[in-house]
Amino acid sequence: MAEIVIENIRKEFGSFTAVESSSFRIEDGEFFMLLGPSGCGKTTTLRMIAGLELPTSGAIYIDGEDVAQRPASERDIAFVFQMFALYPHMNVRRNISYPLVSQGLPRAQVKAKVAEVARILGIEDILDRPVGGLSGGDRQRVALGRAIVREPKAFMMDEPLGALDAEFREHMAEELRALHDRMGATTVYVTHDQLEAMQMGDKIVVMNHGVIEQFGTPQDIYDKPATMFVADFIGSPSMNFLKTHGNVSNGAREVTLEGSRIPVPEMYEPFEGELVFGVRPEHIFLSDSGSYRGEVRAVEYLGTTQIVTLDTHAGPAKARISSDRPARPGETVGLGFNGETVTLFDGHSGRALKSSLNEGVLHG
């Protein structure tokens, strides 16, 4: 198993830069997510770690050794693709044993290893079946088996669940995570699905246009977004952005939004200009005494909670509140904010302003 350190890697395809100089560290045994929309550079980054692409510049250390310019075959990494490619003319056992047989491992050892992998994946009963008639889930398990059996230093997975339908995807995500917990193998996983990243990852790198927007634990990325892009991309419904023009002084504990004074974490940098007040839906509550007011436009019942969509002077907002509190479309209500959770952004650059909330999480 392995620790992977990425230092200033960069990838250009002709005049197009797919990945701008990027650095991050993947600890031994971590389940690590590369998250972003299509074209953000996440798959290129994964392919560079695996050795399927060579970086234009920068270093990739696997267990302390720089492998950036080495071919994939010298990196001891297993790759699982979105479309699981199995050998159709072979049965399950032969598909899984193939990587070992081609390494010239003695037959008895191959047998023992395949049996162990089959047990881990719970597919012992289908070992002698042809792969043709298998369900999607079993095909995915066999593809994983073929990756696991080599005991590589790390696994690279490129949207392995992307082709599955929603209900089954959730099931496989749980299974994959449980498998990881049993094996403890370093895994780098590419996805565009924020929920999948939050659900499975120990750490997440959020990318956009070839640039790393943020790197951290799921909870930190959710609570303390470094940019408006991250705040919007993570979470459903995403963070509310209430826009205003104003100034923030060093040490400020509140801002003025359409004439109402709203609490914020202690601000650590002065700012003047287009200001965006960012608050998660679960940190807005309805309060009769709130001076900042909004009109209820829609109510969505979700069981334990409900999502209330409001029109306010500084823009639309969604609040996630308990289902006990009645809210009717057309009604005007006061809004309260859980000030400690608020992030203020520079509306022009999209960058989060430093505060007591995000101190230590934001870099540079």
């Binding site: 993570i234 459903s236 995403s238 436009r297 969505e300 979700l302 069981g303």
Partner: protein
């Protein structure tokens, strides 16, 4: 708009009953969502109402009159499908006008123009009217196909998973949109989905289907808080309700086989010991995976819970749901 009633309708395909003696009232102006997994009979029910299938038994009434002998056109229903099927060579305006140009309706051109513009307004696409249908985003195309249903004044709108091919953000937006349109128009709408969020957020009434039978019909809140069976209870709620053997806890009523525990039914910090196996930070909720007496339980925790895998936590049921050996609710 009109109310629609199904009276004991059954539809068999060979030996299987796709729809089994379903009786249901869809009041005028209601937003009824039929919820169930693949094969539950949702789409067949829509096709029976629209007249694309004929029932083997039972009656269908629209505005108080049996329509069994009416053709689909005479029933005056409007259907919206999962896959938007727009005419690619036509503009948005022509696509929207098309249903009104049907020879049966004989709508005068100025009325057509007026209706199309009204609907474009409702759908917030008036600036797109002269675009080619193919020059629209996925969400806009689906809005146009909903619009093609709206230009007519049908007795009822029938929608078959119209949002399921859209991405998550767009789906969330159109959910609110569709609910608003329905409320503004006072339209009667029957909507089929396997997505519980759509059912919970849009419906005035939810009908839960299980293998062709309508097992419960009520408001989203009734279905969530007061399910008649474990099957219904499992259809709504994220994370899914935990079903455990009743004897694990005290207080089981006579005949109880299974205890159903939603996160709000689990009190943490008192009762019996369980072990944390995983803490999942999903942002808006934090899921706690517990191992309890050889069973897995998924519940919710405070977003900043200090709990970590391997920790022990005591849990106790609080107003849980109890089910008998058939899965029927007994308390």
């Amino acid at each position: 708009m009109a109310d629609v009633a199904l009276r004991g309708i059954t539809k068999r395909f060979g030996n299987t009953s796709a729809v089994d003696t379903v009786t249901m009232e869809i009041p005028d102006g209601a937003f009824v969502v039929l919820l169930g997994p693949t094969g539950a009979g949702k789409t067949t029910t829509l096709r029976l109402i629209s007249g694309l299938e004929a029932p083997d038994a039972g009656d269908i009434e629209i505005a108080g009159r049996s329509v069994l002998n009416d053709t689909p056109a005479q029933r005056n229903v409007a259907m919206v499908f999962q896959q938007y099927s727009l005419y690619p060579h036509m503009s948005v305006r022509e696509n929207l006008a098309f249903p009104l140009k049907s020879p049966i309706l004989k709508t005068p051109p100025d009325i057509i123009r007026q209706r199309v513009e009204e609907v474009a307004e409702v759908l917030r696409i008036p600036h797109k009217l002269d675009n080619k249908a193919t020059a629209l985003s996925g969400g806009e195309m689906q809005r146009v196909s909903i619009g093609r249903a709206l230009v007519r004044s049908p007795n009822i709108f029938l929608m078959d998973e119209p949002l399921s091919s859209l991405d998550a953000k767009l789906r969330a937006e159109l959910r609110v949109e569709l609910k608003r349109i329905q409320a503004d128009l006072g339209a009667t709408l029957l909507y089929v989905t396997h997505d519980q969020i759509e059912a919970m957020t849009m419906a005035t009434h939810v009908g839960v289907l299980d293998e062709g039978r309508l097992v419960q019909f009520g408001s989203p809140r009734e279905i969530y808080e007061n399910p008649v069976s474990l099957y219904v209870a499992s259809r709504l709620g994220l994370p899914r309700i935990n079903a455990l053997p009743a004897e694990l806890f005290s207080g089981a009523p006579i005949g109880a086989k299974t205890i159903g525990l939603r996160p709000e039914h689990i009190r943490e910090g008192a009762g019996l010991a369980s072990t944390v196996t995983r803490v999942e930070h999903l942002g808006d909720q934090t899921r706690l995976h517990l191992r309890f007496e050889g069973h897995d339980i998924v519940t919710l925790a405070d977003a900043h819970t200090p709990l970590a895998p391997g920790d022990s936590i005591a849990i106790q049921p609080r107003n849980p749901l109890w089910f008998d050996s058939q899965g029927a609710r007994i308390a």
